[in-house]
């Protein structure tokens, strides 16, 4: 047993030793159970238990908990320790409370009382203990209880520095739980001026707080910029001896420097005051210069701390994106790191360069490092570093280097780790399309992709190549020739068969003149793969065959034989059976003219944004470089390559069908359309209960609180609701429309346990008989605790004329009901909007077709009804709507911003929701996107 420091608890050490000596898990559990029984009896029986013993047992419980066992008692004893006059007992009490946070409200009250006493103590050690406990728990109740004391502690002249430090971070923690606790007004400037504090520890802690406050209200805290710049300037120009213990391995105050650089990234480069801007640039230059100086120590701590500051400075340079000179210097510096022997540095340099590649000032500079980056992709030992290299290649790719980069990525793909293959395939496909000047090259690349990594080629990728071939005459003959050659390989991937089948079915005639690829040969080649393929591919091939009958009448009998085979005509797969028999009949009955019309070449597809991009974004949110995301940001995304007009929901598959692509004939032949019913299509979503379909439309109530929820011949159910903060009250009104009573009347709530912890719903009982013509009211109370999806339902069961009836209705209790509208000006809206851009946002953006006329007034009404503040005159485009609101929950409040961009020409909307919590953004986006 090692020496125990402080006033050791011998009993605890003995217990820990015992546990460590246990030979098996069972023995350990046994020993623990024995100890738990012992402690339980001590706590229960022994009234004379003194503080020391209590402390020891509480500490043992804590240890047991940390081993991974559940602890369901001892909280009271721990709370008792808080009021002990012995520091060591108090401290253990606080530790226990901090680790085993308990929501038991009675205890919380006691805890808060003890904390209050300690906060008032003259001994700073006691005060800090209390502050640490608040910061560790950081609950809503704590925020309420200490919203006055802590800001006072923070700015008061009497407070000791150590206490100030804790108070700053404690306040930050509470601010994260309840943003409204921060006092405004004169407090703002007092908090900002902590940046000037003498004590670097205080400044370090305060900078974190200010950073968070700025994120919420950049305008109000704008004054921090010049202070932060001058503080930073003093640090970077100081020698390492100046700052004494705040110098870390010869680097002056690295933590504070990084925080200040971070803080400045909340703002655009200071323009009002050229002096500030000049000083900031000087700081950044000094940091870049220092990177070139020889290291003051060989220790990795020195280089880490120095480079941490450097990387953060580069982040700021990239964020400002205004000084070409600095951007290029940053790029050169990172270039040096690419061949550093530290893996960590190479990883970070690749990552940082990815951002530089998207700036117009530094894009060219990044390209100079192409060779090294390609080497990294091939040679790095750590897959996460290789991944970064792939990302960077993707980001630095443009027209001039696309062929080389795509080729290198294809080469590497053959040996790439399985974990990154799928993503690489997507990237190659996107680059090849985006930068293709010659589409034969594009076709080659995609076919190579299928050859090399067929398993990782998703539907989107091969749909896309077909779409492009069909839309471009000049490449069709080449595509037919190439797929034909590719199909000759002894083993070829099923995706190749799909692409080959589709393309030959459309354009096989273009190569049929060559004896080596005569109709006969083409058909036999395809059919030789048939028996190896899945039903879906076979279905596609059958369509190719019927198209062949039109293109090459000479092989008609041969193909009819195939349709007639038992394995097709009587296939167990209904789709194959149907296709075989319909196609067979078509080929027998239809005249040549009819055949030619029905089986005409596919018309060009409408131009769309590549759906592959959407897949990539979904797969790796945050990894798709900025430039890609920007493309999706403008209201009408410029379509990728040529004169495209329409943009369609990017999440849709790009042929617009989930059936095998060939099955959609171009002619308007009703028979065939029916024949090719969408067996591969998903069933449309049905609302929970069929009988209500006509009478109950829960979507309507997302944007309104009162109205008739449901009505049929028997009953009418109306609702009135009101919401305040995180609480809601609903009145349901049941009206009996018949001339006889509704018996056994029983509404019951459908809302799972798992949901109820997030939205607690209480329903008052109602009488079990609803008299003829009568109306009764039922009250429902709801409390939003955490964010949730969907909304609760009520099943209303009753008996009418001895026939049991059941009606399911959705309650209008969607998450948006807990919105509080928030007014703000344009500047702060966009600053926040931008701040939230880092948060994963792919899932909270939707592009969708308008289902109702795009009327401005209706849209406004819906948005207001949705619960957010509609902010007028903020968006530079007057057609757009922007809104802001706060969702109130018991555990937290989530500020939420929204932008709705109508595109009248395309009859589309784009909806973007941003908040600090992804799940909230996604749900808000889902709820609202159904409304237009």
């Amino acid at each position: 047993m090692p020496a125990v420091r402080g006033d050791g608890m011998r009993g605890l050490a003995v217990f820990i030793s015992d546990i460590r000596n246990c030979k098996s898990k069972e023995a350990e559990v046994k020993r623990i159970n024995k100890e738990l029984a012992n402690i339980r009896s001590k706590f229960k029986g022994d009234k004379t238990l003194d503080g020391y013993q209590k402390k020891k047992y509480v500490c043992k419980l804590l240890f047991i908990f940390l081993l991974g066992h559940d602890i369901d008692f001892g909280h009271m004893e721990a709370v008792n320790l808080l009021s002990s006059n012995k520091y060591s007992e108090k401290q253990i009490g606080y530790l226990f409370i901090s680790v085993l946070v308990n929501t038991n409200s009675e205890l919380i009250k006691l805890i808060i009382q003890s904390i209050k006493n300690d906060l008032a103590s003259r001994n700073p050690i006691h005060v800090n203990l209390a502050l640490q406990c608040i910061a560790n728990i950081g609950s809503q109740e704590m925020a309420e209880a200490f919203r006055n004391e802590i800001p006072k502690l923070l700015v008061s002249g009497d407070t000791m520095d150590v206490v100030k430090q804790s108070a700053a971070l404690c306040l930050l923690r509470l601010f994260r739980t309840s943003p409204e606790i921060i006092p405004g007004g004169e407090w703002t400037s007092r908090i900002i001026h902590l940046l000037n504090d003498q004590h670097l520890g205080v400044v370090t802690a305060a900078t974190s707080l200010i950073d968070a406050l700025v994120k919420k209200n950049p305008e109000e805290y704008k004054g921090c910029v010049p202070l932060a710049v001058s503080r930073l300037s003093r640090i970077v120009t100081s020698s390492y001896t100046d700052l004494q213990d705040y110098t870390y391995y010869f680097v002056p105050a690295p933590w504070l420097s990084v925080k200040l650089l971070r803080l400045l990234q909340n703002y655009t480069p200071p323009t009002e005051d050229p002096g500030v801007r000049g000083r900031l640039n000087e700081c950044l230059e000094t940091i870049l210069n220092k990177a070139q100086e020889p290291p003051k120590s060989k220790k990795v701590q020195h280089s880490n701390a120095k480079n941490a500051v450097l990387f953060e400075a580069i982040n700021l340079i990239i964020h400002n994106d205004s000084e070409a000179n600095l951007l290029v210097r940053a790029c050169n510096q990172l270039g040096q790191f690419l061949s550093n022997r530290e893996t960590n540095l190479r990883y970070l340099a690749l990552e940082s360069m990815c951002h530089l590649a998207t700036s117009e000032f530094s894009h060219e500079a990044v390209k100079k490092h192409q060779e090294v980056v390609i080497l990294s992709m091939k040679m790095e030992k750590d897959v996460s570093v290789r991944q970064q290299a792939v990302d960077l290649l993707y980001a630095m790719c443009d027209k001039t280097n696309a062929e080389e980069i795509v080729q290198e990525m294809l080469n590497y793909l053959e040996t790439a780790d399985y974990s990154i293959r799928e993503e690489m395939v997507l990237k190659v496909a996107i680059l090849a399309e985006k930068y293709a000047t010659d589409f034969t090259w594009y076709v080659d690349v995609i076919l190579n992709l299928i050859r090399i990594a067929g398993d990782y080629v998703s539907e989107e990728v091969w749909y896309r190549v077909i779409q492009i071939v069909i839309n471009r005459d000049e490449v069709q003959g080449y595509a037919a020739k190439t797929v034909f050659e590719a199909l000759q390989a002894p083993a070829c991937h099923e995706n190749m068969v799909k692409v080959g089948g589709y393309i030959l079915g459309e354009f096989g005639n273009l190569i049929a003149g060559d004896q080596r690829s005569s109709p006969q040969v083409q058909f036999q080649l395809l059919h030789s793969k048939y028996h190896l393929c899945s039903p879906m591919t076979r279905a596609l091939l059958l369509s190719t065959y019927i198209k062949f009958i039109n293109l090459f009448p000479e092989i008609r009998t041969q193909i009819q034989e195939v349709f007639k085979q038992d394995s097709n005509l009587r296939s167990a797969d209904a789709e194959l059976q149907q296709r075989a028999s319909e196609y067979l009949q078509l080929s027998i009955i239809a005249s040549t003219d009819v055949l030619a019309t029905v089986l005409e070449e596919m018309p060009a597809f409408p131009e769309r944004e590549s759906s592959i991009l959407a897949v990539l974004k979904k797969k790796k949110p945050g990894r798709v470089p900025e430039s890609e995301i920007k493309e999706g940001k403008s209201p009408t995304p410029a379509s990728n390559h040529n004169n495209g007009v329409n943009t369609v929901n990017t999440a849709q598959d790009l042929l617009g069908l989930s059936t095998p692509p060939t099955s959609q004939p171009s002619g308007n032949t009703g028979v065939l359309l029916d024949v090719l019913g969408d067996v591969y299509n998903n069933k449309p979503n049905t609302i929970n209960s069929l009988q209500d379909l006509t009478a109950h439309n829960p979507k309507k109530f997302v944007c309104k609180n009162n109205g008739v929820l449901f009505e049929n011949d028997l009953i009418q159910i109306g609702v009135k609701s009101e919401f305040r903060q995180n609480l809601g009250r609903l009145g349901l009104f049941y009206g009996n429309k018949t001339a006889s009573p509704l018996q056994n009347f029983l509404p019951s709530l459908v809302w799972s346990e798992e949901h109820s912890v997030k939205l607690n719903v209480q329903m008052k009982p109602v009488e079990s008989v609803l008299e003829a013509g009568a109306q009764i009211q039922q009250t429902i109370n709801a409390e939003c605790i955490d964010d949730y999806i969907d909304s609760p339902s009520v099943i209303v069961a009753f008996v009418y004329n001895n026939v049991p009836q059941k009606i399911t209705i959705k309650l209008p209790l969607t998450l948006n009901k807990f919105f509080e509208p928030t007014e703000m000006n344009g500047e702060s809206f966009f600053a926040r909007w931008k701040n939230l851009a880092n948060v994963n946002q792919q899932k909270s953006q939707k592009i969708f077709k308008a289902t109702t006329p795009m009327d401005v007034q209706t849209a406004r009404q819906k948005l207001i009804g949705f619960g957010m503040q509609l902010l007028d005159g903020i968006d530079p485009n007057p057609d757009n709507f922007v809104c802001a609101g706060i969702i109130h929950m018991r555990t937290q409040q989530v500020g939420c911003l929204l932008r709705l961009e109508p595109n009248r020409n395309a009859q589309m909307y784009r909806l973007t929701v941003r908040s600090s919590k992804e799940s909230v953004s996604v749900e808000v986006c889902n709820l609202l996107s159904d409304q237009f």
Binding site: R5, Q53, Q165, T204, D245, V258, G622
Partner: protein, 157 residues
């Protein structure tokens, strides 16, 4: 902001955990298990950073112990490595060349030291001197109190 810090042994035993965000116990256990497995599977010369869900994981091994921190996208990886190092230095100074056993037997001290260094997931005090001073002041308060437990402990478990 740091979301949590975990200390675990080469055998995958969790030695210390500090959470700066509230998660249910079940989730905490799941996260811990997942990360321990992932990190122990990595080779020595590999990069100390990895992407995990929407967080960045920074880890470093000191002797038999792994120190692992989860930080947010905004946070600085290299400096997080140095937070770990500073914590190790503090433990080392306090215990006098610290080893895994010190942390097992004095886990409460390890927590107290960590609370001085980080608060609410943010760096509170980077000066080694100041942190050690605060801890020494705490110990001093304890020593002033009568060591009455000494008697009870003999004979009692």
């Amino acid at each position: 902001m740091m979301q949590f810090m975990l200390l675990f042994s080469r055998q995958g035993k969790l030695r210390l955990q500090k959470w700066y965000v509230a998660h249910p116990d079940k989730l905490k256990k799941k996260i811990t298990r997942e990360l321990i497995t992932t990190i122990l599977a990595r080779k020595p010369k590999m990069c100390s950073f990895l992407e995990w869900k929407d967080l960045k994981i920074v880890y470093k091994r000191y002797a038999s112990l792994y120190f692992c921190c989860a930080i947010e996208q905004d946070d600085n990886e290299l400096l997080t490595l140095e937070i770990i190092h500073r914590y190790v230095e503090l433990l080392d100074k306090y215990f006098g060349s610290v080893c895994e056993l010190d942390i097992i037997f004095n886990f409460e001290k390890a927590y107290f030291i960590l609370d001085e260094l980080l608060l609410g997931g943010e760096v509170q005090e980077t000066s080694k001197k100041n942190v050690l001073k605060a801890i020494a002041a705490q110990d001093l308060l304890q020593e002033e109190e009568t060591p009455q437990g000494f008697f009870e402990d003999h004979g009692l478990g």
